[in-house]
Point group: C2
Chain length 394, copies 2
């Protein structure tokens, strides 16, 4: 299966605990439109989300976990699509660094995605067909605005923490500038305050790969009864190389051959790295919607938190009240340490409470999804000390 | 136009000065087959080449210039395909670092390419149709073996120098290990002794992009009367990002918008880097053959000069007689400086004459094709001093 069917239109009235197939879904009807940066509104819309742990009486122990580009709401529970454990199950759970015995964790599928929240595969009620490219182009601020509407629904005034890596880190930063009084502490990981030229370039390669596939049909592939699998697989392969480091690739695969003693003098996968990438491409298309890939990469490209402040990042954080811990990984060349450092400097200029950890690892950008002891330790330490400062007793 | 038509079969008998359309072409008939690493032979075959300057009486002043992946024989003269000046016209010419008043420069189109030498678009005499994927997969050693046959034809026993960057640098290294006595000095630039896992990965992405294009027709697109332009453009775009550095992209493009004051909330090219990449993709498909792109990327992937020596690079250079100058560029992440340094160490272990220059630049891998004063100076200095050592008086 690939995408979760959008909810029936008649289902979209008020929050309910319907699972779709396994998530909670918050429906926002026509009286609660989502204002979009594109100058339009999205209405009705819905957000699929998961929660872990219990909200305390004062509603002061909520942690919003924001997922990355191809992530989903299943941060700490098995994905019904892939059957795999939650993507951050190493970090989130009873007794884990994000301790669900103490905290109420919310993780929602971003709008524009394809795992149950409104996205390009959802039905456009004005036409009765999937939005495809008629969905307005969404931004990181749009995603976060929707998340704020969800926590309003849940009756939460202030989040104890917002935590996320990569695109999740962008949402995390956006939370602190859009709703400074609603975020006690923030943990933006392996991210940047704006998408770099090189990162835009790689995303554009991916989008062109999708749109070059004739099965894309100008975005209307669902009606055409097909999927641009080949283009999306190429996009995923190109992106996947950027998630790893040269050193990790060399260590893991090197020039090792795939099931053979010498090269095959052909265009089959000779090298293990080739098989690995092909596998990444093929499995991705089974779980992800091609148009959602276009929308989410675009949202990341558009992200530039300083843009409205003449490019002055320090100004973007003026009046910031949130406590920060920034984490980068030494071999991450997609969001290199200097990107985190620039944020730290901007926060310092506002006398914010900031700590910063660069984790030494050769695992590249992907390290934020892996079980790296030093990383887990940093998360545990920051969350615990911020909880003490917030008066949340263990 | 895209590829140059292969020569008529009847034209392939002996060397002649036929131009095709503007190159000299050396034909190798059935009595002179090219032995291939794939365990087969290529016969007949032909090599298109250009020469600059005059061969001296003792035939001791010849410099072989080896081109990179998408390069051609037009190193110092305008390309008849693009009309652009030769790709190394900043380095090669009268009074230039590779001084055609002193040296006889030979630059040939590698076999497997599409600019006049035998490649996948050439006619397979056994079928009367283009080879497409029936051409055996070629290697860097195969290319160099063909080049050695060309200099035999030209009556040159020993080359004064072999010079090349990137894939040209691989050929350069191969010359020194396959024909140590035939190369007085060598200038391998921005290259490596083997293709890294990451580089194989990017090539595989490009190949998959080409082969995913339904217009590729299993390689038989010429007969189908079409070309896999979209797939090849995506491949070129992906590769092009790797030729630049993050710093250069940021300096040149940053997040600058294309002809607009704000983002367009769509999937057209909003950012200058997107337009630039799309342009790179579109112009490339007009000048390059998709199957040739598959063959040449494969040849680079297969390159591993130490493979036959149990991975011991120093052993590959045993008995080396050539004087070396290696050049790397500080911001080149495709062939980082450490790749050159590994070659230097291996040569040092053989007490070879080696110099090594790392050029400080933010221009990435592409720097070897740009007019970088420090780089030109290094080439001029090394060529001049080697010429003195060779007894070639100015």
């Amino acid at each position: 299966m690939s995408t979760i069917a959008p909810p029936a239109p008649e289902a979209s009235a008020g929050l309910r605990e319907a699972r779709q197939p396994s998530s909670k879904v918050a429906y926002f009807d026509k009286d609660e439109p989502l204002r979009l940066d594109a100058g339009r509104t999205l209405s009705p819309f819905h957000i699929a989300y998961e929660t872990y742990g219990e909200l305390n009486e004062t509603k002061s122990n909520a942690i919003y976990v924001c997922h990355a580009l191809t992530g989903d709401q299943y941060a700490a529970s098995a994905s019904p699509v892939t059957g795999k454990p939650g993507w951050w199950s190493s970090l989130i759970g009873p007794g884990k660094p994000i301790d669900t015995d103490r905290f109420f964790v919310v993780c929602s599928n971003v709008i524009g995605s394809c795992m149950g929240s409104t996205g390009p595969a959802s039905i456009d009620l004005s036409t009765g067909t999937p939005y495809a490219l008629d969905l307005p182009v969404l931004t990181i601020p749009d995603m976060v605005r929707a998340q704020a509407m969800l926590i309003d629904r849940l009756g939460i005034d202030q989040l104890f923490a917002v935590i996320g890596g990569s695109m999740g880190g962008m949402q995390c930063l956006q939370w602190t500038v859009a709703y400074p009084e609603r975020v006690f502490c923030a943990l933006p990981i392996a991210t940047g305050a704006r998408h770099s030229s090189q990162n835009i370039a790689f995303h554009e390669v991916g989008r062109q790969a999708v749109m070059a596939d004739p099965e894309w049909h100008g975005g209307r592939y669902i009606q055409a009864g097909t999927r641009p699998h080949k283009g999306l697989a190429v996009a995923r392969m190109a992106a996947h190389v950027t998630y790893l480091s040269e050193a990790a690739l060399q260590r893991k695969f090197g020039r090792n051959l795939q099931d053979r003693e010498q090269v095959g003098f052909g265009f089959d996968a000779d090298f293990q790295i080739e098989s690995y990438l092909r596998h990444q491409g093929m499995t991705f298309v089974d779980r992800f919607d091609a148009n959602a890939y276009l929308y989410l990469t675009r949202a990341m490209d558009y992200f530039d938190i300083a843009a409205e402040h003449g490019g002055r990042l320090a100004d973007a954080f003026r009046g910031v009240q949130t406590r920060f811990c920034l984490v980068s990984f030494s071999s991450d060349w997609l969001f290199p340490t200097e990107e985190s450092r620039a944020i730290v400097h901007a926060l310092n200029a506002n006398a914010a409470s900031v700590s910063f950890v660069e984790i030494e690892t050769d695992k590249g950008h992907d390290a934020f999804l892996l079980d790296e002891p030093e990383f887990s330790g940093a998360v545990r330490g920051f969350v615990s000390s911020a909880a003490r400062a917030r008066g949340l007793n263990p």
